[in-house]
């Protein structure tokens, strides 16, 4: 409820003050109302809902109005947002993946092996490619991941002890000891 109140308040202010992008807030309110109507509509107007070819059941059951919104709006929109990442990755790889130093070259070689190894093409070209990919996952990547996990765990313990013994007081809002 707090989140709902905050969302409505924020977008109401955007519209009333005509801030940049206020049109999107109108879209939000419109879709918000449509979804509420789809949720409560079947119990208030069961005949109208059925006349639209939808089931007059509440909730996310197959054929219900909410299910229709989920299948025809939320699913394709979310998938589209996620799919766009692929285009940006290709563009970013072209601009950023340069063998500027030894470290960058190692990263580049590892990335190429993994990209090939993740697809059947790697096996088609040379069996050693998927094997090397598995080695990269099992040895250097796992070692680095473990080091990060240990670092986080030890850091959390040290920080907790500092709080318990009163050495660390910044979390209370103070700036001086």
């Amino acid at each position: 409820m707090l989140g709902l109140g905050s969302l409505v308040h924020f977008h109401y202010t955007q519209v009333v003050r005509s801030k940049p992008g206020w049109g999107f807030s109108i879209v939000l309110f419109t879709t918000f109302l449509i979804t509420i109507m789809a949720g409560f509509g079947p119990s208030i107007f069961p005949e109208f809902t059925q006349s639209l070819g939808l089931s007059a059941t509440l909730g996310m059951e197959e054929g219900s109005s909410l299910d229709w919104i989920f299948q025809n709006s939320i699913k394709p929109l979310s998938a589209t947002m996620f799919s766009i990442i692929g285009f940006f990755i290709a563009s970013a790889a072209f601009r950023a993946f340069r063998a500027r130093s030894i470290e960058a070259t190692l990263l580049l070689i590892a990335a190429v092996i993994i990209m090939l190894g993740q697809t059947p093409l790697g096996q088609m070209l040379w069996q050693a490619i998927p094997d090397t990919m598995v080695w990269i996952f099992n040895v250097p990547t796992t070692a680095a991941k473990r080091a990060i996990l240990f670092g986080i765990a030890l850091g959390s313990i040290a920080f907790s002890l500092r709080i318990i013994f009163g050495i660390e007081r910044a979390y209370l809002g103070g700036t001086k000891d």
Binding site: E62, F70, I74, A90, A93, R98, K145
Partner: protein
Amino acid sequence: MTKEMKFNVTRWVIFVLVAIAIVIPVIFKEKIKLPDTSSSVVKNIYDHIESLPERSPIMLSIDFDPSSDEELRPMTLAVLRHAFRKNLRIIGTTIWSIQSVGVMGDVFTSVAKEFNKQEGVDYAIMPYNPGGSVIILNLCQDVFFTYPKDHKGMSTKDQPVFKNIKTLKDMKYAMCISAGNAVDTWIIFGKEKGKMPLGAGCTGVMATDYYPYLQSKQLLGLIGGLGAAAQYEVLIKHKGTATDSMKPQTVVHSLIIILIVIANIIYFTNKKKLL
């Protein structure tokens, strides 16, 4: 041409190339033949499900929403097909979001129709309860206290699918298919308290995060990304969307590698920034 214009033109050329690299293999997918691949981390999950006796209860936690649906649905379908073919009882749950229940309903219903399985008898779908780790801890104590009703509001206690199940420990296998950190939560709370074998499915970019857990045997196996989902489809001898998706993915990966090589050739030739 200004530097900004050059940047935008290069970017749009790459976008068009990626679009072509996706569309053409989708159109001519029948003509492209790729070899079948397999890995031990994927096969471990297959072997465990294969070893379970009929009507064994398993729990499948669907912890992704429509944004990751395209990448994670194929592996979910493959695991469900395998479990239904083995005539296992499947309890579907989520600790991720309310949208995951929608995805779960869609996936379970479509595979159940293929195998003529009945909700409440062969499978059940739980509603979304907020709490994440608390939900898993509650499942370790009492399944019916955590989920007194399924996603349709029907009492869980009366359903044959829950026969002889009291806690998570009664599950013969649990699997979390996630686009976020739900696998970590299942390892920490589910595996350690429930003691049942745990498998995981995740997006390709997340797969490396879970290799330490495979080595420590906290995870039985891992299906990481579309490539691994395609391997699972090969194992169950039911090639579906993951196998088909390998074709555009292979072409796009090749394109990205070619772009990287071109960019490096230009970089070393000019010895200055391209853009």
